[in-house]
Protein backbone atom coordinates (compact mmCIF):
# COMPACT_ATOMS: atom_id res chain seq x y z
CA UNK A 1 0.00 0.00 0.00
CA UNK A 2 1.19 3.52 -0.71
CA UNK A 3 1.21 5.80 2.30
CA UNK A 4 -1.70 8.22 2.84
CA UNK A 5 -2.95 10.56 5.54
CA UNK A 6 -5.72 9.11 7.68
CA UNK A 7 -8.51 11.33 9.05
CA UNK A 8 -11.49 10.51 11.20
CA UNK A 9 -13.57 13.71 11.30
CA UNK A 10 -16.42 14.14 13.74
CA UNK A 11 -18.90 15.86 11.39
CA UNK A 12 -20.21 15.49 7.84
CA UNK A 13 -19.48 19.17 7.14
CA UNK A 14 -15.85 18.66 8.01
CA UNK A 15 -15.74 15.66 5.70
CA UNK A 16 -17.38 17.54 2.84
CA UNK A 17 -14.81 20.33 3.25
CA UNK A 18 -11.88 17.91 3.24
CA UNK A 19 -13.25 16.22 0.10
CA UNK A 20 -13.97 19.48 -1.68
CA UNK A 21 -10.45 20.76 -0.94
CA UNK A 22 -8.68 17.68 -2.27
CA UNK A 23 -9.59 15.53 -5.32
CA UNK A 24 -7.04 12.94 -4.25
CA UNK A 25 -8.90 12.19 -1.00
CA UNK A 26 -11.20 9.17 -0.69
CA UNK A 27 -13.89 8.16 1.77
CA UNK A 28 -13.37 5.03 3.86
CA UNK A 29 -16.43 3.07 5.04
CA UNK A 30 -15.99 -0.66 5.84
CA UNK A 31 -12.82 -0.83 3.77
CA UNK A 32 -13.78 -4.23 2.33
CA UNK A 33 -13.32 -3.01 -1.22
CA UNK A 34 -11.12 0.03 -0.78
CA UNK A 35 -8.37 -1.54 1.35
CA UNK A 36 -7.88 -4.59 -0.93
CA UNK A 37 -7.68 -2.14 -3.87
CA UNK A 38 -5.03 -0.09 -2.08
CA UNK A 39 -3.11 -3.23 -1.10
CA UNK A 40 -2.87 -4.09 -4.78
CA UNK A 41 -1.70 -0.53 -5.50
CA UNK A 42 -4.56 -0.05 -7.95
CA UNK A 43 -5.27 3.38 -6.45
CA UNK A 44 -3.18 5.98 -4.70
CA UNK A 45 -5.34 8.39 -2.68
CA UNK A 46 -3.44 11.07 -0.77
CA UNK A 47 -5.89 10.98 2.13
CA UNK A 48 -8.43 8.53 3.52
CA UNK A 49 -11.39 10.06 5.31
CA UNK A 50 -12.98 7.55 7.66
CA UNK A 51 -16.76 7.89 8.09
CA UNK A 52 -16.69 5.77 11.26
CA UNK A 53 -17.19 8.63 13.74
CA UNK A 54 -20.37 9.95 12.11
CA UNK A 55 -23.00 8.22 14.22
CA UNK A 56 -25.89 9.73 12.24
CA UNK A 57 -24.89 7.46 9.32
CA UNK A 58 -25.49 4.30 11.35
CA UNK A 59 -28.60 2.37 12.12
CA UNK A 60 -31.93 1.16 10.81
CA UNK A 61 -35.13 3.16 11.27
CA UNK A 62 -38.70 1.90 10.97
CA UNK A 63 -40.47 4.70 9.08
CA UNK A 64 -43.99 3.26 8.89
CA UNK A 65 -44.33 1.96 5.34
CA UNK A 66 -40.59 2.28 4.72
CA UNK A 67 -37.27 1.32 6.26
CA UNK A 68 -34.36 3.77 6.28
CA UNK A 69 -30.89 2.25 6.49
CA UNK A 70 -27.94 4.52 7.31
CA UNK A 71 -24.99 4.42 4.90
CA UNK A 72 -22.58 3.05 7.53
CA UNK A 73 -24.88 0.19 8.53
CA UNK A 74 -23.05 -3.08 8.05
CA UNK A 75 -24.33 -6.10 6.14
CA UNK A 76 -24.46 -8.21 9.35
CA UNK A 77 -26.71 -5.60 11.00
CA UNK A 78 -29.14 -5.58 8.05
CA UNK A 79 -29.13 -9.39 8.06
CA UNK A 80 -30.00 -9.59 11.78
CA UNK A 81 -32.29 -6.54 12.14
CA UNK A 82 -35.79 -7.43 13.41
CA UNK A 83 -37.17 -4.37 11.55
CA UNK A 84 -35.76 -5.56 8.21
CA UNK A 85 -36.60 -9.22 8.82
CA UNK A 86 -40.20 -8.26 9.48
CA UNK A 87 -40.78 -5.46 6.96
CA UNK A 88 -38.53 -6.56 4.09
CA UNK A 89 -37.44 -10.16 4.68
CA UNK A 90 -35.90 -10.54 1.21
CA UNK A 91 -33.42 -7.74 1.95
CA UNK A 92 -32.35 -9.26 5.29
CA UNK A 93 -31.76 -12.57 3.51
CA UNK A 94 -29.78 -10.90 0.71
CA UNK A 95 -27.49 -9.13 3.18
CA UNK A 96 -26.71 -12.53 4.70
CA UNK A 97 -25.47 -13.79 1.32
CA UNK A 98 -22.77 -11.14 0.90
CA UNK A 99 -19.20 -12.44 1.18
CA UNK A 100 -18.53 -14.18 4.48
CA UNK A 101 -19.24 -13.37 8.15
CA UNK A 102 -16.09 -11.28 8.69
CA UNK A 103 -16.80 -9.26 5.52
CA UNK A 104 -20.39 -8.74 6.67
CA UNK A 105 -19.12 -7.45 10.04
CA UNK A 106 -17.31 -4.58 8.27
CA UNK A 107 -18.84 -3.93 4.83
CA UNK A 108 -21.57 -1.27 4.61
CA UNK A 109 -24.55 -0.55 2.38
CA UNK A 110 -23.21 2.93 1.56
CA UNK A 111 -19.82 1.54 0.52
CA UNK A 112 -21.35 -1.21 -1.55
CA UNK A 113 -23.66 1.03 -3.59
CA UNK A 114 -21.10 3.84 -3.99
CA UNK A 115 -18.59 1.33 -5.31
CA UNK A 116 -21.21 -0.23 -7.65
CA UNK A 117 -19.27 -3.37 -8.49
CA UNK A 118 -21.04 -5.06 -11.45
CA UNK A 119 -21.26 -8.26 -9.36
CA UNK A 120 -22.40 -6.69 -6.08
CA UNK A 121 -25.72 -7.74 -4.56
CA UNK A 122 -27.18 -4.50 -3.16
CA UNK A 123 -27.67 -2.70 -6.51
CA UNK A 124 -30.25 -5.32 -7.58
CA UNK A 125 -32.14 -4.90 -4.30
CA UNK A 126 -32.25 -1.11 -4.58
CA UNK A 127 -33.45 -1.18 -8.19
CA UNK A 128 -36.03 -3.99 -7.78
CA UNK A 129 -37.41 -2.43 -4.61
CA UNK A 130 -37.50 1.07 -6.12
CA UNK A 131 -35.42 2.43 -3.24
CA UNK A 132 -34.24 6.02 -2.83
CA UNK A 133 -30.64 6.98 -2.13
CA UNK A 134 -30.23 9.90 0.26
CA UNK A 135 -27.04 11.94 -0.03
CA UNK A 136 -25.61 15.07 1.53
CA UNK A 137 -27.02 16.98 -1.48
CA UNK A 138 -30.26 15.33 -2.67
CA UNK A 139 -32.39 12.21 -3.06
CA UNK A 140 -31.79 9.95 -6.05
CA UNK A 141 -34.11 7.16 -7.27
CA UNK A 142 -32.25 3.84 -7.53
CA UNK A 143 -33.16 3.68 -11.24
CA UNK A 144 -31.01 6.78 -11.77
CA UNK A 145 -28.25 6.05 -9.27
CA UNK A 146 -26.33 3.16 -10.87
CA UNK A 147 -25.02 4.64 -14.13
CA UNK A 148 -22.30 2.24 -15.31
CA UNK A 149 -19.56 -0.18 -14.30
CA UNK A 150 -18.21 1.19 -10.98
CA UNK A 151 -20.02 4.44 -11.89
CA UNK A 152 -22.83 6.16 -9.99
CA UNK A 153 -24.71 9.45 -10.16
CA UNK A 154 -22.69 10.71 -7.14
CA UNK A 155 -20.83 13.96 -7.71
CA UNK A 156 -17.38 14.58 -6.30
CA UNK A 157 -17.68 15.35 -2.57
CA UNK A 158 -21.25 13.98 -2.44
CA UNK A 159 -21.73 11.44 0.36
CA UNK A 160 -24.41 8.76 0.61
CA UNK A 161 -26.16 9.18 3.96
CA UNK A 162 -28.93 6.54 3.82
CA UNK A 163 -31.12 4.35 1.64
CA UNK A 164 -34.91 4.31 1.97
CA UNK A 165 -36.70 1.09 1.02
CA UNK A 166 -40.47 0.55 0.88
CA UNK A 167 -41.62 -2.35 3.03
CA UNK A 168 -42.63 -5.35 0.94
CA UNK A 169 -43.43 -8.94 1.80
CA UNK A 170 -43.44 -10.53 -1.66
CA UNK A 171 -39.88 -10.30 -2.91
CA UNK A 172 -36.95 -12.67 -3.33
CA UNK A 173 -33.30 -12.64 -4.34
CA UNK A 174 -31.63 -15.60 -6.01
CA UNK A 175 -27.87 -15.56 -6.42
CA UNK A 176 -25.68 -17.83 -8.48
CA UNK A 177 -22.44 -17.32 -6.61
CA UNK A 178 -18.89 -17.45 -7.73
CA UNK A 179 -17.73 -20.02 -5.17
CA UNK A 180 -14.28 -18.44 -4.80
CA UNK A 181 -15.09 -14.73 -4.50
CA UNK A 182 -18.69 -15.21 -3.32
CA UNK A 183 -19.83 -12.31 -5.54
CA UNK A 184 -22.77 -12.89 -7.91
CA UNK A 185 -22.09 -14.44 -11.30
CA UNK A 186 -25.77 -13.64 -11.79
CA UNK A 187 -28.22 -12.44 -9.15
CA UNK A 188 -31.90 -11.67 -9.76
CA UNK A 189 -34.08 -9.69 -7.37
CA UNK A 190 -37.84 -9.92 -7.97
CA UNK A 191 -40.25 -7.59 -6.13
CA UNK A 192 -44.05 -7.80 -6.39
CA UNK A 193 -45.82 -4.53 -5.60
CA UNK A 194 -49.64 -4.25 -5.51
CA UNK A 195 -49.77 -2.91 -9.10
CA UNK A 196 -46.46 -3.87 -10.64
CA UNK A 197 -43.57 -6.30 -10.57
CA UNK A 198 -39.93 -5.21 -10.80
CA UNK A 199 -37.08 -7.51 -11.82
CA UNK A 200 -33.44 -6.38 -11.42
CA UNK A 201 -30.36 -8.30 -12.51
CA UNK A 202 -26.82 -7.97 -11.16
CA UNK A 203 -23.62 -9.75 -12.19
CA UNK A 204 -24.76 -10.37 -15.76
CA UNK A 205 -24.00 -6.98 -17.29
CA UNK A 206 -21.65 -4.06 -16.67
CA UNK A 207 -24.25 -2.54 -14.35
CA UNK A 208 -27.54 -3.64 -12.75
CA UNK A 209 -30.48 -3.66 -15.22
CA UNK A 210 -34.22 -4.33 -15.26
CA UNK A 211 -36.00 -6.80 -17.55
CA UNK A 212 -39.18 -5.06 -18.78
CA UNK A 213 -40.55 -8.13 -20.66
CA UNK A 214 -40.40 -10.19 -17.49
CA UNK A 215 -41.92 -7.39 -15.43
CA UNK A 216 -44.87 -7.09 -17.84
CA UNK A 217 -45.45 -10.86 -17.99
CA UNK A 218 -45.22 -11.23 -14.20
CA UNK A 219 -47.59 -8.31 -13.63
CA UNK A 220 -50.18 -10.26 -15.69
CA UNK A 221 -49.43 -13.64 -14.15
CA UNK A 222 -47.05 -13.94 -11.22
CA UNK A 223 -45.72 -17.45 -11.84
CA UNK A 224 -42.44 -18.96 -13.09
CA UNK A 225 -44.29 -20.25 -16.15
CA UNK A 226 -45.19 -16.73 -17.23
CA UNK A 227 -41.52 -16.00 -17.99
CA UNK A 228 -40.30 -19.40 -19.15
CA UNK A 229 -40.15 -18.37 -22.81
CA UNK A 230 -38.49 -15.00 -22.28
CA UNK A 231 -34.86 -15.11 -23.37
CA UNK A 232 -32.18 -12.57 -22.56
CA UNK A 233 -29.83 -11.46 -25.34
CA UNK A 234 -26.18 -12.11 -24.61
CA UNK A 235 -25.02 -8.93 -26.41
CA UNK A 236 -23.25 -6.63 -23.97
CA UNK A 237 -23.29 -9.12 -21.10
CA UNK A 238 -20.11 -9.90 -19.13
CA UNK A 239 -17.88 -12.69 -20.29
CA UNK A 240 -14.89 -13.84 -18.25
CA UNK A 241 -13.13 -16.95 -16.99
CA UNK A 242 -16.04 -17.64 -14.64
CA UNK A 243 -18.89 -17.60 -17.15
CA UNK A 244 -19.52 -16.72 -20.80
CA UNK A 245 -22.10 -14.11 -21.83
CA UNK A 246 -24.27 -16.90 -23.22
CA UNK A 247 -24.20 -18.76 -19.89
CA UNK A 248 -24.97 -15.60 -17.96
CA UNK A 249 -27.93 -14.85 -20.26
CA UNK A 250 -29.27 -18.33 -19.56
CA UNK A 251 -28.75 -17.92 -15.81
CA UNK A 252 -30.85 -14.74 -15.75
CA UNK A 253 -33.90 -16.77 -16.81
CA UNK A 254 -33.16 -19.57 -14.35
CA UNK A 255 -32.56 -17.25 -11.38
CA UNK A 256 -35.64 -15.15 -12.21
CA UNK A 257 -37.87 -18.24 -12.27
CA UNK A 258 -36.37 -19.48 -9.00
CA UNK A 259 -36.96 -16.08 -7.39
CA UNK A 260 -40.61 -16.00 -8.51
CA UNK A 261 -41.11 -19.58 -7.30
CA UNK A 262 -39.53 -18.70 -3.94
CA UNK A 263 -42.01 -15.81 -3.50
CA UNK A 264 -44.63 -18.58 -3.04
Amino acid sequence: MYEFNYHKPASLDEIANLLAANDEAKLLAGGMTLLPTLKQRLARPSDLIDLAAITSLRGITDAGDAIVIGAMTRHAEVNRSPVVKQGLPALAAMAGMIGDPAVRNRGTIGGSISNNDPAADYPSALVALNATVHTTKREIAADNFFTGMFETALEPAEIVTAVRFPKLQIANYQKFRNPASRYAIVGVFVARFPNAVRVAVTGAGPVVFRVPEMEAALTQNFSPDAIKDITIKEDGLNSDIHASAEYRAHLVGVMARRAVAACG
Binding site: Y6, M32, G99, R106
Partner: protein, 169 residues
Amino acid sequence: MQKTVSLTVNGRPVSATVEGRTLLVQLLREQLGLTGTHVGCDTSQCGACVVHVDGEAVKSCTLLALQAEGRSVLTIEGVATGDTLHPMQEAFRNNHALQCGFCTPGMVMSALDLVKNNPNPTEREVREYLEGNLCRCTGYHTIVLAILEGAAVMRGEAPPANVHGAAAE
Protein backbone atom coordinates in the same frame (compact mmCIF):
# COMPACT_ATOMS: atom_id res chain seq x y z
CA MET B 1 2.36 10.28 8.41
CA GLN B 2 3.12 8.81 11.86
CA LYS B 3 0.32 8.69 14.41
CA THR B 4 -0.16 7.16 17.80
CA VAL B 5 -2.83 4.52 18.17
CA SER B 6 -4.15 3.38 21.54
CA LEU B 7 -6.24 0.28 21.94
CA THR B 8 -6.74 -2.75 24.17
CA VAL B 9 -5.19 -6.03 23.03
CA ASN B 10 -6.09 -9.21 24.91
CA GLY B 11 -7.20 -7.11 27.86
CA ARG B 12 -4.05 -4.96 28.07
CA PRO B 13 -3.92 -1.28 27.07
CA VAL B 14 -1.41 -0.73 24.25
CA SER B 15 -0.09 2.35 22.46
CA ALA B 16 2.05 2.32 19.33
CA THR B 17 3.27 4.63 16.59
CA VAL B 18 1.95 3.60 13.18
CA GLU B 19 1.63 4.97 9.66
CA GLY B 20 -1.73 5.62 8.03
CA ARG B 21 -1.27 2.50 5.94
CA THR B 22 -0.24 0.18 8.80
CA LEU B 23 -2.67 -2.73 8.92
CA LEU B 24 -3.97 -4.04 12.24
CA VAL B 25 -2.30 -7.39 11.50
CA GLN B 26 1.07 -5.63 11.01
CA LEU B 27 0.67 -3.85 14.33
CA LEU B 28 -0.17 -7.14 16.04
CA ARG B 29 2.57 -9.24 14.47
CA GLU B 30 5.43 -6.84 13.82
CA GLN B 31 5.09 -4.30 16.60
CA LEU B 32 3.42 -6.26 19.39
CA GLY B 33 5.04 -9.63 18.59
CA LEU B 34 1.69 -11.44 18.54
CA THR B 35 2.47 -13.78 15.66
CA GLY B 36 -0.41 -16.17 16.28
CA THR B 37 -2.50 -14.13 13.85
CA HIS B 38 -1.43 -15.18 10.34
CA VAL B 39 -1.47 -13.62 6.88
CA GLY B 40 -2.42 -16.15 4.24
CA CYS B 41 -3.50 -14.10 1.25
CA ASP B 42 -3.41 -10.56 0.01
CA THR B 43 -7.00 -10.48 -1.11
CA SER B 44 -9.09 -10.54 2.09
CA GLN B 45 -10.34 -14.03 1.33
CA CYS B 46 -8.56 -16.67 3.44
CA GLY B 47 -9.45 -15.73 7.03
CA ALA B 48 -6.06 -16.73 8.53
CA CYS B 49 -5.92 -13.22 10.03
CA VAL B 50 -9.32 -13.22 11.79
CA VAL B 51 -9.34 -11.51 15.20
CA HIS B 52 -12.18 -10.05 17.24
CA VAL B 53 -12.63 -6.29 17.42
CA ASP B 54 -15.14 -5.28 20.09
CA GLY B 55 -16.32 -8.89 20.12
CA GLU B 56 -16.83 -9.32 16.37
CA ALA B 57 -14.78 -11.38 13.91
CA VAL B 58 -12.93 -9.21 11.38
CA LYS B 59 -10.07 -9.71 8.95
CA SER B 60 -7.13 -7.91 10.53
CA CYS B 61 -5.40 -7.74 7.13
CA THR B 62 -8.23 -5.52 5.91
CA LEU B 63 -8.45 -3.08 8.79
CA LEU B 64 -6.08 -0.18 9.38
CA ALA B 65 -4.44 -0.08 12.78
CA LEU B 66 -5.83 3.46 13.12
CA GLN B 67 -9.37 2.14 12.56
CA ALA B 68 -8.92 0.12 15.77
CA GLU B 69 -8.27 3.26 17.86
CA GLY B 70 -10.03 2.91 21.22
CA ARG B 71 -11.28 -0.59 20.41
CA SER B 72 -10.76 -3.88 22.18
CA VAL B 73 -8.95 -6.54 20.15
CA LEU B 74 -8.84 -10.25 21.01
CA THR B 75 -6.27 -12.45 19.24
CA ILE B 76 -5.64 -16.19 19.50
CA GLU B 77 -3.04 -15.46 22.20
CA GLY B 78 -5.80 -14.12 24.44
CA VAL B 79 -8.12 -17.11 24.16
CA ALA B 80 -6.57 -19.65 26.57
CA THR B 81 -6.50 -19.13 30.35
CA GLY B 82 -2.87 -19.54 31.36
CA ASP B 83 -1.86 -23.06 30.38
CA THR B 84 -5.46 -24.26 30.09
CA LEU B 85 -6.69 -24.28 26.52
CA HIS B 86 -10.10 -22.80 25.77
CA PRO B 87 -12.68 -25.58 25.14
CA MET B 88 -12.71 -24.63 21.44
CA GLN B 89 -8.91 -24.97 21.21
CA GLU B 90 -9.10 -28.26 23.12
CA ALA B 91 -11.73 -29.50 20.66
CA PHE B 92 -9.43 -28.69 17.72
CA ARG B 93 -6.65 -30.69 19.41
CA ASN B 94 -8.96 -33.55 20.28
CA ASN B 95 -10.33 -33.87 16.75
CA HIS B 96 -7.04 -33.46 14.87
CA ALA B 97 -8.60 -30.39 13.30
CA LEU B 98 -5.24 -29.10 12.11
CA GLN B 99 -2.39 -30.38 10.03
CA CYS B 100 0.02 -27.55 9.21
CA GLY B 101 -1.90 -25.27 11.59
CA PHE B 102 -1.63 -22.18 9.42
CA CYS B 103 -5.38 -21.60 9.20
CA THR B 104 -6.07 -22.64 12.80
CA PRO B 105 -5.91 -19.29 14.65
CA GLY B 106 -8.42 -17.79 12.18
CA MET B 107 -10.59 -20.90 12.35
CA VAL B 108 -10.73 -20.77 16.15
CA MET B 109 -11.54 -17.04 16.17
CA SER B 110 -14.31 -17.53 13.57
CA ALA B 111 -15.64 -20.53 15.51
CA LEU B 112 -15.86 -18.44 18.69
CA ASP B 113 -17.72 -15.71 16.76
CA LEU B 114 -20.17 -18.29 15.43
CA VAL B 115 -20.85 -19.82 18.84
CA LYS B 116 -21.39 -16.39 20.33
CA ASN B 117 -24.16 -15.67 17.80
CA ASN B 118 -25.44 -19.24 17.60
CA PRO B 119 -24.52 -21.42 20.61
CA ASN B 120 -26.02 -24.59 19.12
CA PRO B 121 -25.12 -24.57 15.41
CA THR B 122 -25.95 -27.38 12.99
CA GLU B 123 -23.22 -28.91 10.88
CA ARG B 124 -24.54 -26.96 7.89
CA GLU B 125 -24.43 -23.68 9.83
CA VAL B 126 -20.83 -24.39 10.83
CA ARG B 127 -19.87 -25.03 7.21
CA GLU B 128 -21.61 -21.85 6.06
CA TYR B 129 -19.91 -19.79 8.77
CA LEU B 130 -16.50 -20.99 7.62
CA GLU B 131 -17.03 -19.55 4.13
CA GLY B 132 -14.38 -16.93 4.79
CA ASN B 133 -11.82 -19.33 6.30
CA LEU B 134 -9.79 -21.43 3.91
CA CYS B 135 -7.88 -24.57 4.90
CA ARG B 136 -5.46 -26.18 2.50
CA CYS B 137 -4.88 -29.35 4.53
CA THR B 138 -7.76 -30.91 6.40
CA GLY B 139 -10.63 -30.94 3.93
CA TYR B 140 -12.63 -29.21 6.72
CA HIS B 141 -14.21 -32.43 8.01
CA THR B 142 -12.34 -32.49 11.32
CA ILE B 143 -12.60 -28.72 11.71
CA VAL B 144 -16.38 -28.97 11.54
CA LEU B 145 -16.37 -31.82 14.09
CA ALA B 146 -14.12 -29.78 16.37
CA ILE B 147 -16.39 -26.75 16.26
CA LEU B 148 -19.47 -28.87 17.00
CA GLU B 149 -17.58 -30.39 19.95
CA GLY B 150 -16.26 -27.04 21.19
CA ALA B 151 -19.77 -25.55 21.00
CA ALA B 152 -21.21 -28.51 22.95
CA VAL B 153 -18.60 -28.19 25.69
CA MET B 154 -19.17 -24.42 25.85
CA ARG B 155 -22.90 -25.12 26.35
CA GLY B 156 -21.96 -27.36 29.27
CA GLU B 157 -22.91 -30.56 27.48
CA ALA B 158 -20.95 -33.78 27.17
CA PRO B 159 -18.88 -33.65 23.97
CA PRO B 160 -20.24 -35.69 21.06
CA ALA B 161 -18.18 -38.64 19.78
CA ASN B 162 -15.18 -37.25 17.92
CA VAL B 163 -13.52 -38.25 14.67
CA HIS B 164 -12.13 -41.42 16.24
CA GLY B 165 -15.45 -42.37 17.77
CA ALA B 166 -14.07 -41.56 21.22
CA ALA B 167 -15.53 -38.99 23.58
CA ALA B 168 -13.30 -36.04 24.43
CA GLU B 169 -11.12 -36.46 27.50
